[in-house]
């Protein structure tokens, strides 16, 4: 899933427009918190999804897969708010909480809308660009170094995990649930050891290129047209205005 999101960020139609997309996402995120909450969530969610899929041309499957994991948490929260445990009687019983359902729906809709905005950003802005952007904003260099290393290491470890898993399957390491669990344990342990070895070798590799404590690289630059910024700001402003009107009329 990570690879699909990253590929989408690298290949989408707006990959060079980091600034305008960032502005659009911040604006839409603010809109999700405006009243009336249900309308705000539905409107911002719909606009964000349409913009991501039709504007940036992000594949629907990638967008939905990226949304799936956070939606699981939203679903758990929704269940906890919608139902309550009744302790009167011989056995505890589960019952619908009438006062909790509207709150659950509001918070679920708002969470889905806000998560959609985040997924829109993840699927349209390459990591190297937003890290560069943070570096230009003056984030401490240690954090920038960590972000670069984490971004690179995630994909190296993912490749190693895949090769280790494939090798384990070739030797029937997944023939029973117990074997699967054992294989997963070995895989985790193997990855930990490999990570330590790799960290040591990477340090040696960096030292060979005169590393002296800071992973300084040329930061990616983008030059977006002012019209892109204007459009990126106009959409959230229009949403905000619509929500204001809706709030007054209701």
């Amino acid at each position: 899933m990570l690879k699909a999101v990253d590929a989408s960020a690298q290949l989408n139609r707006w990959r060079q427009r980091t600034g305008p997309i960032g502005l659009f996402c911040v604006g839409m995120m603010v809109c999700t918190f405006l009243p009336p909450s249900r309308s705000a969530a539905i409107l911002t969610g719909a606009v964000t999804v349409a913009t991501t899929l039709m504007g940036a041309n992000v594949p629907v499957g990638t967008f939905l897969r990226a949304l799936a994991a956070p939606l699981t948490f939203v679903a758990v929260g929704w269940l906890a708010l919608s139902f309550s445990v009744e302790l009167q009687g011989p056995w505890p019983t589960l019952r619908l909480a009438p006062e909790g359902v509207p709150v659950a729906i509001d918070s679920a809709l708002r969470s889905i809308a806000a998560t959609s905005v985040l997924v829109c950003f993840a699927c349209t802005v390459p990591a190297s660009r937003w890290i560069s952007w943070l570096a230009r904003l003056g984030l401490p260099v240690a954090i920038i170094d960590l972000l670069y290393l984490t971004y690179r290491t995630i994909f190296i470890l993912d490749e190693e995990r895949q090769s280790l898993l494939l090798a384990a399957r070739q030797r029937l390491g997944n023939r029973t649930p117990a074997a699967c669990l054992r294989t997963a344990g070995h895989l985790g342990a193997g990855l930990l050891v490999r990570t330590l070895g790799r960290a040591h070798r990477l340090h040696r590799g960096l030292e060979a290129r005169c590393f002296h404590g800071h992973l300084r690289v040329l930061q990616s630059t983008t030059s977006s047209h002012p019209a892109d910024y204007a459009l990126a700001l106009a959409v959230p402003l229009a949403c905000g205005a619509a929500l204001l009107l809706l709030g007054r009329s209701s």
Partner: protein, 235 residues
């Protein structure tokens, strides 16, 4: 080819813990390098050959100061290597090393960012770094891929990316550890062509390899290692 860029005399090296490993596993010998004496002339194309574990990579890492001899001496341009932090930084401005596994060297978000790392560490101005990055990426045949993240490159492309990262520093000596590992014949041919261009510009190139094509068609001199000892020197 006047004078020696490297002079190695009576070089011994043992990895930490190797003695205890030897007790448990006889295949793990006590010393990785045993009494190596070798002169590497300026402008030469030298191939280090030998079986796995013969000490080729260890010898390369002695040349760029990644490892310090247990005894013996390595001299660069007539002076003993200085293993202090500043001494190593000075050495690595002149001696670049490309490691066997490119993932041991590549760390940044994109190819261009990774290639810029070395030149920025040399203290060059941003515009100079940018020029060098473009030039190095073009030299290794990866033009147009500078903004791609490294995990989107193939293994062969990553090897070339690692080479670009070192070439951008314009070293005087280039050390390459198994540069043809994982490359197809076309990739090997392209690498040889690239190395010949670098050599014609006066660069000294030392390669650790198993590849007979490199040793027979490319190298001016072949040095064979066996269990950490010099076995044979062909001219």
């Amino acid at each position: 080819m006047i004078g020696a860029v490297f002079e190695i005399s009576s070089l011994h090296y043992a990895y930490t813990g190797a003695a205890s490993a030897h007790a448990l596993c006889p295949a793990q010998r006590k010393e990785a390098l045993c009494g190596i004496t070798l002169a590497i002339p300026h402008g030469i194309r030298l191939a280090l050959v030998g079986a796995n574990g013969s000490g080729k990579s260890t010898l390369l890492m002695q040349l760029n100061g990644s490892l310090q001899p247990t005894s013996g001496e390595v001299r660069f341009e007539g002076k003993p290597l200085d293993y202090s932090r500043s001494g190593l930084l000075k050495l690595r401005r002149s001696v670049g090393m490309v490691f066997q596994n490119p993932d041991d060297q590549l760390f940044a978000g994109t190819l261009a960012q990774d290639v810029s790392f070395g030149p920025l560490n040399l203290g060059l101005a941003t515009h100079e770094v940018s020029d060098r990055v473009h030039e190095a990426i073009e030299k290794v045949g990866l033009a147009g891929l500078g903004e791609l993240p490294l995990h989107m490159l193939s293994h062969g492309q990553r090897q070339r990316a690692a080479l670009a990262g070192v070439l951008a520093m314009r070293p005087q000596v280039l050390l390459l550890d198994e540069p043809t590992a994982g490359l197809d014949p076309a990739g090997v041919a392209a690498l040889i062509a690239q190395l010949n261009i670098l050599h014609s510009s006066g660069m000294t190139i030392v390669i650790a390899t198993h590849d007979p094509t490199l040793t027979s068609r490319w190298a001016d001199r072949v040095v064979s290692l066996h269990e950490g000892r010099l076995d044979l020197q062909d001219s």
